[in-house]
């Protein structure tokens, strides 16, 4: 039985309030309150906001984070294929899925492919995964949808966009939701686009995009799927719809005569439109609250539209707790000023063009990729000591060449010592630098998603995959540490 066996999501903790975009600094008391996650219940918020990937996050890092959640409790070696969907993968030539697979320490013989170039890449990748498993060419396919789209500063899209990722494990065994079917239409329209040399997403007049693109396509896909399944939109307990904005979302829901209580919250003013990851994230959010036996419908848009239907099973209640969309939305760190947002996205003016530095040598990257990308260290077979990075002679007992590899990225650790560096270029100094102990290995890691005030010796932390810098004009990735939520360690 083909379906979804697991899911995960990621939303960067940084939030840009619309008021901040308007040039107003958040009052300190307000931003502190928001940093503590107060007023997080919907409707009580005084300021609408959107999620923002910080300077060390992008489609790859967010995708890895969502995939890590998705694989919680599952054997990574069982993943046969990985599909990575994004319109904002940083390389035009060079695969994203292979990079994500390495960061996740998946099997070497994992089949990988990127889905790109359309807002529909996420739902298309999901559909491909169901097809592959149904056809028997793979038993377990990891689908990762992640987007981090850049809108021109001051534009309307800047407010409606959000950054985030979702991941699903599509499998032929023990699904939490079985796949009932899908229906897609292709539509040629110039509504949103980003060309070869464009930095920002362009859009045609909003009324045209909504009236001739989004609205009819989405309705056609939903109705097409219902016809194929012999169902009506009202048969679904949750309908999750992609939308460019809150108003268009409401008008499509009305046109489909959906009970508002059954329409999934599109999260405008909290998350924002996460592009190719938007419909997948709404699906993940629906799965978080679904009970066994419910029917879900999710519809994505982009150069046409695609609708997918699911029915949850009893296994959904047995799934190990994970961090989904709701968990991430409750964890917020407000951006204190618009200037810092511009700096984080490299939209500020700089004296020097970046990228003059050669960056990490490709040969060093090649020989250290297990360590740098998958955070694989080693355990000494002689004395048992764990160390990072790999080395020939044991740090503890001096035995030579007697180690087994050990992945540290899914372990937790504790801060041994720290400093706050005001020298390293970052949009929001200082950089928190730690020596962190993970299973006895001492690892030099930057600490993120926290502040100097909350940094202490013994703080429980977990590794998080991040962009470390842009040396060589390309993203260079490595791991950082972040506090374990709630301080628990496994």
């Amino acid at each position: 039985m083909v379906g979804i066996a697991s899911y995960g999501a990621y939303v960067p903790p940084t939030r840009l309030a619309f008021a901040t975009i308007s040039g107003r600094e958040l009052e300190r008391s307000e931003s502190d309150k928001r940093a503590r996650g107060e007023q997080s219940a919907r409707g009580e918020r005084s300021e609408p906001e959107r999620s923002v990937a910080w300077n060390d996050e992008d489609a790859v890092t967010m995708g890895v984070a969502a995939a890590v959640e998705c694989l919680r409790g599952f054997d990574r070696a069982s993943v046969d294929a990985l599909l990575f969907a994004s319109t904002t993968y940083p390389f035009r030539e060079k695969q994203g899925a292979a990079l994500v697979a390495k960061a996740l320490d998946l099997r070497r013989d994992v089949a990988t492919a990127d889905h790109a170039g359309s807002l529909r890449a996420g739902s298309a990748a999901l559909r491909s995964a169901f097809d592959a498993v149904a056809a028997g060419s793979a038993r377990s396919v990891l689908v990762v949808a992640s987007d981090c789209r850049l809108a021109a500063p001051g534009s309307g899209l800047e407010r409606s966009f959000g950054d985030g990722a979702a991941a699903f494990l599509v499998s032929d065994t023990e699904p939490i939701a079985t796949f009932e079917g899908g229906f897609a239409i292709a539509d040629e329209i110039v509504d949103l686009w980003r060309g070869e040399r464009d930095r920002f997403v362009h859009t045609w007049e909003e009324r045209f995009v909504v009236q001739e693109g989004y609205t009819p396509s989405l309705i056609e896909a939903v109705r097409g799927l219902c016809a194929r399944l012999g169902a009506s939109p009202g048969d679904f307990s949750t309908v999750a719809l992609y939308a460019p904005d809150e108003r268009s979302h409401a008008s499509v829901a009305r046109a489909l005569r959906l009970d508002p209580a059954r329409v999934a919250d599109p999260l405008f003013g909290r998350l924002g439109n996460t592009g190719a990851a938007f419909a997948p994230m709404l699906l993940a959010a629906a799965l978080e609250s679904a009970r066994p036996g419910e029917r879900l419908l999710v519809a994505g848009y982009g150069d046409g539209a695609e609708a997918l239907a699911f029915r949850t099973t009893g296994r959904i209640e047995k799934l190990e707790p994970r961090r989904g969309v709701g968990w991430h939305l409750a964890r917020r760190r407000p951006v204190r000023s618009y200037d810092r947002y511009l700096a984080a996205r490299s939209l500020d003016a700089k004296e020097w063009e970046s990228g003059g530095d050669p960056g990490l040598s490709a040969t060093i990257h090649f020989r250290e990729r297990d360590e740098d990308l998958a955070l694989v260290g080693q355990r000494c077979r002689h004395c048992g000591a764990v160390q990072f990075p790999r080395q020939r002679v044991c740090e503890s007992c001096f035995a030579k060449d007697d180690f087994e590899p050990m992945r540290l990225s899914d372990r937790t650790g504790r801060v041994v010592t720290y400093t706050f560096d005001f020298f390293f270029p970052t949009p929001d100094p200082p950089t928190i630098v730690t020596v962190t102990e993970i299973d006895g290995a001492r690892v030099h890691l930057q600490l993120v998603d926290t502040s100097p005030k909350e940094t202490r010796i013994g703080l429980p932390v977990e590794p998080t995959f991040r962009r470390i810098h842009q040396g060589g004009g390309r993203p260079n990735y490595y791991w950082k540490a972040r506090p374990v939520p709630g301080g628990e360690t496994k």
Binding site: P358, D372, Y418, D421, F422, F423, V435, H444
Partner: protein, 383 residues
């Protein structure tokens, strides 16, 4: 263990150029200033005949042998040594060893560096690796602060007093770069570089060169009546302390290891009582504090009380960094260890002017560098 080199080699001349932002000086200019002062100090008027070999130390330059030979117009064996911040002490050590083993009679040691030609006021941030960033010395040396403060209750004020002391001493040293008294408040209010280090907790960055003429102890009095003898010289290297699972981040092991070896060579049982003056590696204030303890000048954790009671001040029981240290001389890496030897020789010969320590007979100099992974110690004594 070897019997060591105690009393087999003498320092008979020292020289030091003016340290500072030497915009109008090339490395050659500084090397000539330092070497010719050392020649004169040693009574050498024909270096081509009287110097057998040159040992030079530089971290930034990769052409030390050429630069020294060309600047001094010496046709001699020239060896370049590079060992992080212990570079100067290690160049000195190589010179000492070459004489002790009988290869040469008289050698010149020149340490120099010219970081102010790089166009940045601090360290360069390299983007050619992904691990261990940010790679700055302030970040490396700051890693003992949180742990030390938590365990022993010390704080930024204790560090500040070290900077205040060294700034004061620097006003008394003609060749220092910074000659300005500062207050604890100045230190605490300066902008932060890498917590707990503010700007005044960090050594200045300067250009400089220093030189020493070494010869066989039995020939030393041909050069001057008051030669200084080498009692011990050592360097220690260690693996990266950030990865060391046994590191408690309360001390820097290379210093403790080097001290053990140096005291054994010199026959020192009680360093606090026997050593009269010390030049310690104060790249950052905490580095000097930890060195008090790692060198056995006081018990681990007790530095705070000794700082407060003035033990390490010019008028104290064991004056440290009598010339203002790296704090006021800056840290042209290859020069620093040799500059410390210059200061210790002046102190032992009673030539240190307003900063003279009374009756100094035994003097220690110390460098630590890398992550830190390298330490050098030299102990000199009156003959």
């Amino acid at each position: 263990m070897s019997e060591g080199i105690r009393d087999r080699v003498a320092v008979v001349g020292v020289g030091c150029c003016q340290f500072g932002e030497n915009w109008d000086q090339s490395p050659s200019d500084m090397i000539v200033d330092a070497a010719y002062e050392a020649y004169q100090d040693a009574g050498i008027d024909d270096p081509q005949r009287q110097i057998d070999a040159v040992f030079t130390g530089s971290l930034y330059s990769q052409k030390g042998p050429h630069e020294c030979s060309d600047a001094l117009k010496l046709w001699k064996p020239v060896t370049m040594v590079s060992n992080y911040c212990a570079t100067g002490t290690d160049a000195f050590r190589c010179g000492v060893m070459s004489i002790a083993c009988g290869l040469y009679d008289t050698v010149l040691v020149v340490g120099y560096d010219k970081p102010k030609d790089r166009g940045v006021s601090g360290p360069s941030v390299m983007m050619n690796q992904v691990r261990d960033l940010p790679q700055t010395p302030a970040g490396w040396f700051a890693l003992c602060a949180a742990t030390y403060f938590e365990k022993y209750g010390a704080g930024r004020e204790d560090l500040a007093r070290i900077a205040v002391k060294n700034h004061h001493n620097g006003t008394l040293a003609p060749k220092s770069f910074l000659k300005r008294e500062i207050t604890v408040k100045d230190v605490l209010e300066a902008r932060l570089i890498s917590w707990p280090f503010g700007l005044y907790d960090c050594a200045a960055q300067t250009d400089g060169a220093a030189a020493a003429v070494l010869t066989r102890a039995d020939r030393a009095r041909q050069h001057r009546a008051d030669p200084v003898l080498v009692k011990a010289v050592t360097v220690q290297a260690g693996p990266n302390p950030q990865k060391d699972p046994g590191n408690d981040f309360l001390s820097w092991k290379p210093t403790a290891w080097a001290a053990r070896d140096a005291y054994r060579q010199a026959g020192i049982a009680d360093p606090r009582a026997e050593i009269d003056v010390a030049q310690l590696h104060d790249c950052f204030t905490l580095t000097e504090l930890l060195s008090y303890e790692d060198l056995g000048f006081c018990e681990k954790g007790a530095a705070k009380e000794h700082i407060a009671s003035g033990v390490f001040e010019l008028t104290g029981e064991l004056p440290v960094n009598t010339d203002g240290g790296l704090k006021t001389f800056g840290h042209p890496t290859g020069a620093t260890g040799v500059r410390m030897i210059y200061e210790n020789v002046l102190q032992l010969q009673g030539r240190a002017g307003a900063r003279q320590v009374k009756n100094a007979e035994l003097a220690l100099s110390h460098n630590i560098g890398g992550h830190p992974t390298a330490c050098g110690i030299a102990i000199l004594g009156r003959s």
